[in-house]
Amino acid sequence: MNRKLFTFIVLIGICTYCFFLFRETGKIWSAEYKAGNAVARPIFISDTDMFKELERPPVGFYHDKHTVALEKEGCGVCHLQDEKGRFIFKYPKLRDEKTRQSLMNSYHDNCIGCHRERAKAGKKSGAVTCGECHVVKKGYEEWLRPVELDHYLHYQHEKALDKKCELCHHLYNEEEKKPIYKKGTESSCRDCHRGKEGGKTASFRKAAHADCINCHMEHNREGKTAGPSNCKGCHVEMKQRTISEMLAVPRPERGQPDKVIISSEDARMKGVPFDHRSHESYTRSCRTCHHKTLNNCKTCHPLKGSAKGNKVALADAYHRASSGRSCVGCHESKKSEPNCAGCHHSIKGALTNGYCLVCHSGSFREDQAVRRLETLNASLPEMAPEVIDIGVLKKKYMPVRFPHLAHVRKLFEISNRNRLANYFHADKAAICAGCHHYTPIEHKSPPPFCRDCHNVSFDLQDLKKPRLVAAYHLQCINCHKRMKLKPLKCTDCHAEKLMDKSLSHKNRSIKVR
């Protein structure tokens, strides 16, 4: 009896071991584990709004696998069609969202029902038991990239649809309960379609999928070139253009101004002349700045702020340095680009005294479009030296021959190339101030020496101000580092002094204490 019991327990043990072993190995060989196969990755169904806490792991659903398998039958197997034959991309077909239980049942009835039927008919079929779908998937990460309808994609659609804006853009007529189109009111889909799943207005996800995929499929049926209609076509394989690649793309026409003076009636500052057209080419899409609607900023952000604009006041909407949508925020972010960071890393603060009027000038001036700096020779102070010998460390090294004019020329060239820099560096002193900080730069008067402020010896009282040697090194090294120039060795600047050989460090014999 005892022996029988022992054998029984051992057998059970072996069985359990084998079960887990094969389960694991089975996984390894299944399709989803084949590396690099982007299609074989699941979309997770969890409907957490309705289900709240899940009893079992969420189902990883292979949409593209189903699309391929059901190609003959078409999307209608799973998705409803309206009277025009357009698909409504929700699943299950008759989704009963009254309770948690009913929604769960509608999923189970549809999935398992279909799998059973197909299995009976002898076709290739899928899972029917709980554990086959509700599997814990490890290492899941977001593999579906969000699609951004940038200027390039928008233009592609414009071209393909012969500028028939009404095919996508619409308003909604509450009385007639149907979408209408009105020229000049085009806006981002997200203006209206930003509700939650299952709200009164379709969520952005639902609206975009329904319109994009249906239209693409229709075009495909008619034999025209069309965009993709499977998941990976848009969310994995499509390459989004960078801003510099989109420069040649024509602007979307919607009656927007070329140039406008941004102002508010009761504002105290003068208006800001704003070149709308050129800014369009610096952005990925209109939504970069017009983050909710295509109206102008003061509609939602009046001078004192309103609940509609999240209580952000007008001045804040334009000047908040931490926001990517505000003027100042976007311009600030440009300062961290290598060409600019050399000087700008040490110039603190987004808005400095006296700089308000650079933008708030009230009107477009002739020269304002491009305030190109005067030619170099005319603009340089006359005594700007060509080469400066810095001999602070001349006891140990030959003096550093600093090519001053070459540096000035380079900085002017960088500034002139960049339109943004060009506008704000209207005064050449702005460029000189990259190094000659806190001191005035004027024609015919040389700026103070570095040593006038930076002590030669270490000052215990003033920890902020580096001493002379450090000031030189920090200024040069930091700028070279931020501008991503090739790293410099000591001897690139400091030529080795030809000293008495016995004194040089290398040849000095090691002293023993």
Partner: protein, 284 residues
């Protein structure tokens, strides 16, 4: 109990207490002791360091140690430790923010474990911050065991071995000079000053460049505060610092126990004696 017995008992008691006092370890006081003087310190900004090793050279020159070869970068290929003849070393760490150079030397703790551990008071905490060692070192190496930063180094090759480590240029300090490494640093990655001012400066650098630094000053509170404090662009664990040290000064771990020893030594015999007396008188 007659008069003589009483005096004898009292005498033993006083003697015991006196002996006990000798056994209490020298307790190094916390910050701002010593008549309100400030500790001095050095702020090391690792984002500024360029790895020129001028500090190593200056240190060797100032203390008559063998001169290091700083002519090439090959020394950075593996991590070095300080030795008895190299009191400070610069190491290079490859991090996600590029190469970072870190100078390492004795941290000069506010309440050093090595001083508390030293049997002969050869290791001293000066009231200006310097942790120095005297020639009366007996080579017991308890300081090496106690140091959380593994800084005291032993002259294993010497016939009369002693402990060696950075002394924050105590000799130069008395002459009114800066520590040699601070004076040699060409980019002022090292700043010498009152510790409190340095902490303010360190915090203000973090405040002004929040994206360039991790928001922590190493040595501000570690092991009760150190005189060398560090700023870094990456978490300190990535550039060779221990993150598990806690903020309790190391001597505090042992003071409780060591303080109890004399009391037990003195009071326990007294109690026993008392009990003995009490019992014997009853018998009488």
């Amino acid at each position: 109990m007659d008069r003589r017995e009483f005096l004898k008992t009292i005498g033993i008691g006083i003697g015991g207490v006196a002996c006990g006092d000798i056994l209490i370890p020298s307790i190094v006081n916390a910050q701002n002791a010593f008549g309100g003087n400030e500790f001095f310190g050095v702020l090391v900004d690792t984002t500024r360091c360029i790895g020129c090793m001028r500090c190593e050279m200056a240190c060797a020159e100032a203390h008559n140690l063998p001169l290091p070869d700083i002519s090439n970068d090959s020394v950075f290929e593996k991590k070095r430790n300080t030795t008895e003849t190299r009191w400070t070393v610069v190491n290079r760490y490859e991090t996600e923010k590029g190469k970072i150079f870190v100078k390492q030397q004795c941290m000069h703790c506010n309440q050093p474990a090595c001083v508390a551990a030293c049997l002969v008071k050869a290791m001293k905490k000066r009231k200006e911050a310097h942790v120095t060692w005297d020639t009366n070192c007996i080579g017991c190496r308890l300081c090496m065991v106690s140091c959380p930063f593994d800084m005291p180094k032993f002259e294993y090759n010497s016939p009369l071995p002693k402990i060696q480590k950075c002394n924050l240029c105590w000799d130069r300090f008395q002459e009114g000079k800066l520590p040699a490494c601070v004076e040699a640093c060409p980019v002022e990655a090292l700043k010498f000053g009152a510790r409190r001012d340095l902490l303010d400066e360190a915090n203000s650098r973090i405040f002004q460049n929040p994206h360039n630094y991790v928001h922590h000053v190493y040595g501000g509170h570690e092991v009760g505060g150190t005189s060398y404090i560090y700023l870094s662009a990456v978490p300190f664990e990535q550039i060779g610092f221990r993150g598990d040290l806690g903020t309790t000064p190391y001597p505090e771990f042992t003071t409780g126990f060591l303080h109890a020893v004399p009391f037990v030594d003195v009071l326990w015999p007294l109690i026993l004696l008392g009990i003995n007396r009490a019992i014997r008188r009853e018998e009488d």
